[in-house]
């Protein structure tokens, strides 16, 4: 699959051949740092001063690199496709190789960062349980009620959700048998066929 770069994007990246390869590598490092931690405008100013170019040019160059890296990682494009996509920018061989190395070294890391973005569904983290027997309450003395208290920990993005729930032994057995059926459903030939064929 080839990446289609917009005119704006190409313009932003046009800055790169005008500087030393070492500078391009430095920009690549900055771009990855920004993907990991977020952008920091001060760095743009420092670099612009050293190179004697307007701040915007530096900013666009780095952002263009970031976008190139994230789009390539998102679609998991192959080496060949990456080089072909970059060819359209008309850079020299050395520059193309630098960009390719940047992509190959970091694409799985970038992918894992990207995949942390769309977590708007709470996800299971862990479960703790304990068995208690209720002996009395304010309204009834002399009880013998076994109960299971469950502490469920979920994560939602970067927040964690904690729920305390209770259940009785019979419901517990029902939960276990229902969830075991859920696990078994992954092993059916239907599920296996789909998992095998959609890659």
């Amino acid at each position: 699959m080839l990446l289609v770069l917009s005119e704006d994007h190409k313009e932003h990246l046009a800055f790169l051949p005008k500087v030393e390869p070492a500078v391009v590598r430095e920009f690549g490092r900055i771009a990855l740092e920004f993907i990991r931690r977020g952008a920091s405008p001060k760095i743009y100013e420092g670099a612009a001063r050293k190179l004697g170019v307007p701040v915007e040019m530096v900013q666009h160059g780095v952002e263009g690199l970031m976008f190139l890296m994230t789009e390539s990682s998102k679609h998991m494009i192959s080496e060949v496709d990456f080089l072909d996509s970059v060819l359209v920018l008309g850079f020299g061989e050395e520059l193309n190789q630098i960009l390719l190395q940047l992509y190959l070294q970091h694409h799985s890391q970038i992918r894992s960062i990207l995949s942390q973005l769309p977590s708007n569904l709470p996800a299971y983290h862990s479960l703790e349980w304990r068995l208690d027997v209720q002996l009395a309450s304010r309204s009834v003395r002399e009880q013998v009620i076994p109960m299971l208290t469950i502490h469920l920990l979920l994560t939602k993005g970067s927040d964690s959700i904690s729920r305390v729930l209770q259940t009785d032994p019979r419901t517990l057995l029902h939960l276990i048998s229902t969830l075991e059926a859920a696990l078994a459903s992954m092993k059916t030939s239907h599920a296996r066929r789909i998992l095998r064929n959609i890659k």
Binding site: L127, W129, L165
Partner: protein, 193 residues
């Protein structure tokens, strides 16, 4: 059993044959149990023909005393001898004690359930539903191609139900089921002690 003065006085009046004859005694005992078990408060609960002759204020005092006594007996899981000796001290005849006790036995289980359901506790899980899905892609990442489960725990708390939804991978679900099975094993061991 510890009873307040007003409850004791109300019960003593109930025991007195000159205030409550045999039939009105039986009716008041039945009505007292019934008013505790019905889900809605019925203002006409004391409008029984057998009770019309009795002074209405006295009637209300006796009804309150009787219901308080019933609740206290169920709460403490009082046995026959405790109830009998308590009522004997309050001048109940052996016959009236018997009538009261047999009605008590008839309704005891239901009242126990009612009392046990009063009180705060964490949400109770009563069911779970699940879906197996295949995550292909999303807005940020293409070619994800991973199966995952969507689990929904149905829970209930004081009448209102709540769904707790979450996703998990197969390994996480295996971990979850493993822990639940450990819990079930410990319940089984405890029940054999």
């Amino acid at each position: 059993m510890e009873l307040s003065e007003s409850v004791q006085r109300g019960l003593q009046s109930l025991a007195d044959p000159s205030s409550f004859d045999q039939s009105s005694f039986q009716v008041l005992v039945d009505v007292s149990f019934r008013s505790l078990l019905s889900s809605k408060g019925d203002p006409a609960v004391l409008d029984q023909p057998e009770l019309k002759q009795i002074d209405q204020i006295l009637l209300k005092q006796c009804h309150t005393a009787a219901t308080t006594f019933i609740l206290e007996a169920v709460k403490q899981n009082a046995d026959k001898s405790t109830i009998s000796s308590c009522l004997e001290e309050l001048t109940f005849s052996a016959e009236r004690i018997e009538i009261f006790y047999s009605t008590h036995q008839k309704h005891k289980k239901e009242l126990e359930c009612l009392l046990a359901s009063i009180g705060r506790r964490p949400a109770q899980i009563n069911d779970v539903s699940w879906r197996l899905q295949y995550h292909m892609k999303n807005a940020q990442v293409d070619k994800v191609n991973e199966p995952f489960y969507s689990i929904s725990l149905k829970s209930e708390n004081e009448g209102s139900s709540e769904d707790i939804n979450f996703t998990c991978t197969m390994e996480q679900l295996q971990d979850l089921v493993g822990k639940l099975k450990d819990a079930a094993k410990s319940v089984e061991k405890a029940s054999q002690m």
